[in-house]
């Protein structure tokens, strides 16, 4: 009974901590989770071993829910959601930010319910799927890369004075996407071969790169923007039909499933693939399916670690949380029901927290300009990077920021920045890791 109460208490603590952290724009839960784990190892006994996984899992569950607030209300997407943000902004400008946030939250709740129900089936089926797919993972990742690049279409209004001007306007975003992808890929190859960051900060050596690629450009974009947030209506109902829920569940499960299983594929990239697979359009579908996908991407990926079977004796470790907890965690299949219970509890509490938190944020934004929040977050991110990874980390962050700014200024997909992981992982899995090291002279 004491053990049960301890786990319950740490689930609640994780959910509350995750909820608070999620409200800080541009701060990723994996950064704070990594630091929390190091603190845990230095302050022995602060969390009992049995409660470590439920605590961190609840932290991530709360993030998957409440991160929708900064994403929708002040446009601070994480790496998983660069695709799902646009319909959210549209809702915000129409004074329906509250509704959009809750629609995303409903998607996340659907994701949690789906995981809770489907986990036994996933536990049985996933090892076989993994056994079949894992030898071909490099080919699958290459296909994802090709699809990602080919699915970016020319934009532009066709208003240029000359043919060249019109051509340039239309193709600028496609070309910028390719440049972003190429530069992020090169950065990924370099930092995964060697890194400037001291080995003492090895556990967060990719953090400056991610903050640089996603958080800093997003913050700068918002600081440059003159956009104002119109008054928001607090509605008591959500415009959703059964069809919307059905289709968005399907789209979200496909997107999240791909993102949870395929290394370096985020919910955003999964969303591109799933969007084309389901072939349905609509802002509501987009927002709700984004919520479903986010839960599967963050939470489902971690639960795959518990698929410990004779076919997969070490589990199928996927996602950032698995990497963070790998040094201290030895997952046992008998713990899986406890984890499902933890996500169900944490998910439901997170949804309940989402409603007042959204109201509170809307009230805050009516009094404080969102620029103020970004002016506060930007130095916080820089201090965090310098504190953990030193000046070398700051240099890495600056380089990554320049790359991350290209899609912001040229209006191409920000998910192209994920090439930082996609390219080195795909090439290493294909067996070209050694050749790349030699070509770069970093062997």
């Amino acid at each position: 009974m004491t053990g049960y109460l301890t786990i319950l208490a740490f689930c609640l603590a994780g959910t509350l901590s995750g909820a608070i952290i999620s409200l800080i724009p541009s701060l990723h839960i994996y950064n704070t989770a990594g630091i929390a784990l190091i603190l845990w190892t230095h302050i022995e006994g602060i969390i009992p071993y049995t409660a470590v996984a439920p605590f961190f899992l609840s932290l991530v569950v709360a993030y998957a829910f409440l991160n929708t607030i900064p994403m929708t209300l002040i446009g601070a997407p994480d790496e998983s959601a660069s695709v799902t943000i646009l319909p959210g902004i549209k809702y915000l400008t129409l004074g329906r930010g509250f509704e959009a946030t809750l629609a995303g939250g409903i998607g996340s709740l659907i994701g949690i319910l789906f995981l809770s129900v489907a986990m036994p089936l996933i536990y049985v089926a996933m090892p076989f799927i993994h056994k079949i797919l894992s030898p071909h993972m490099h080919a699958i990742l290459m296909a994802v890369i090709v699809y990602m690049l080919m699915s970016e279409w020319p934009k532009g209004e066709g208003l240029g004075r000359t043919t060249w001007e019109r051509f340039r306007q239309a193709w600028r975003n496609v070309f910028a996407g390719l440049v972003t992808f190429g530069l992020a890929g090169i950065l990924g190859l370099i930092v995964t071969s060697r890194t400037l960051v001291s080995p003492d900060a090895g556990f967060q050596n990719i953090m400056p790169v991610f903050i640089g690629l996603f958080a800093i450009p997003g913050a700068i974009e918002k600081l440059l923007s003159r956009e104002t947030i119109p008054p928001q209506h607090i509605s008591s109902s959500i415009e959703l039909t059964r069809g919307d829920i059905g289709w968005s569940t399907l789209q979200g499960v496909i997107a999240g499933g791909l993102a949870a299983y395929l290394p370096a594929v985020t919910a955003g990239i999964g969303g591109i693939l799933a969007g084309h697979a389901v072939a349905r359009r609509g802002d509501r579908l987009f927002i709700v399916s984004g919520g479903v996908a986010k839960v599967l991407y963050y939470v489902g990926a971690f639960l795959l670690l518990y698929c410990v079977t004779p076919l997969t004796p070490m589990g199928i470790g996927r996602g950032g949380l698995s990497i963070i907890l790998k040094p201290v965690l030895q997952p046992l299949p008998r713990e899986l029901p406890m984890m499902v219970g933890a996500i169900l509890l944490s998910g439901c509490i997170s949804f309940l927290l989402l409603i007042p938190s959204t109201r509170l944020t809307i009230r805050l934004l009516s009094r404080v300009h969102y620029h103020v929040l970004y002016w506060a977050t930007l130095p916080l991110l820089v201090v965090l990077v310098v504190f953990i990874t030193g000046w070398a980390g700051l240099a890495l962050m600056l380089i990554a920021s320049c790359i991350g700014m290209i899609p912001v200024f040229f209006h191409s997909r920000r998910s192209n920045c994920m090439a930082v992981l996609l390219v080195p992982i795909a090439l290493n899995m294909a067996g070209y890791g050694d050749t790349i090291l030699r070509l770069l002279g970093l062997d």
């Binding site: 071969s193 090895g202 440059l224 201290v328």
Partner: protein, 291 residues
């Protein structure tokens, strides 16, 4: 609808905006210097083009500087004893003596256990054994060698402390002691860890669940040699059956080890050429057939 149009103006490139429109919000301002809608100045502005090209130029120059910086930077040396959770995923250099080497041709993988004086670290290469053998040739590590290796630290509850080596050029031989021939009767506790050549005849075989203990003898004395089935499996020839026959003479590369406080010998990479020679006992001369 106007609001949506405004947002689209902000988010999309805004070509053909003339001087009568606000470059900040895109709305009509007429002859004013400051936009009456968004209050932005129409005179003191920096074109977004500048930021665009700073982003493109900064990333290219940054990548070049980063690449040069990393090429000239020495990978820091770490000791196994000082590695903590925070070093997980760091790239570091390790130097030490090879304690054991195990290879798996089927999985094309290897594991090298290194002792750097402060602790043990396992160097691993998944799917890279053939490349390492091809590039390193004779200098592929064997027990007793002192090597330097650059690897990515992986600290896990399942595997313990390991470092993954990405390239054979990240593994260098620092020194290789000449392999001496040691008589069985002269092996002492001071020799624990020593890799040498040994020779003896099998005089006793004691099987156990995962292998067998052979008592071998030469003119100077006797010693125990522990052989595991997993080691024999890799031989894939007649030596598997011959090794456990009384009277067989074994010439092998071995390591002096200790188990439950007793000295024992262990084979070193028996599947590698020249590391294990098995001579079956001489057949007794058959009697001439009776006429």
């Amino acid at each position: 609808m106007d609001r949506i149009a405004d947002v689209i103006m902000i988010m999309a490139p805004t070509p053909n905006i003339d001087e009568t429109h606000c470059p900040g919000c895109g709305r009509f301002v007429g002859p004013y210097d400051t936009c009456p809608h968004c209050q932005s100045s129409l005179r003191h502005r920096i074109s977004l083009k500048v930021f665009r090209w700073i982003a493109v130029g900064g990333s290219i120059i940054g990548l070049i500087i980063l690449w040069i910086g990393l090429r000239i930077q020495e990978v820091p040396l770490l000791h196994a004893g000082q590695i903590d959770l925070q070093h997980n995923m760091a790239t570091a250099r390790f130097e030490g003596k090879v304690i054991s080497v195990s290879t798996d041709d089927k999985k094309n993988s290897f594991r090298i256990t290194l002792d750097d004086g402060t602790g043990l670290i396992v160097l691993m290469g998944h799917g890279k054994l053939s490349v390492f053998r091809k590039v390193l040739g004779d200098t592929f590590p064997r027990p007793g060698d002192t090597i330097s290796a650059v690897g990515n630290i992986s600290y896990s509850e399942n595997y313990g402390l390991t470092a993954f080596i990405a390239s054979p050029r990240r593994l260098t031989m620092l020194s290789r002691d000449e392999i001496i021939r040691k008589e069985l009767g002269r092996i002492t506790r001071e020799d624990i860890g020593l890799v040498g050549r040994f020779e003896g005849s099998v005089i006793e075989v004691t099987p156990f669940a995962k292998g067998m203990t052979l008592r071998i003898q030469d003119p100077s004395g006797q010693q125990q040699l522990t052989v595991f089935h997993s080691e024999l499996k890799r031989l894939e020839d007649a030596r598997i059956d011959q090794i456990s026959k009384i009277g067989t003479t074994l010439r092998f590369l071995g390591r002096v080890d200790v188990f439950r406080n007793d000295i024992q010998l262990r084979l070193v990479e028996p599947a590698d050429p020249g590391n294990l020679d098995v001579q079956p006992p001489a057949e007794p001369a058959s009697a001439p057939p009776a006429s």
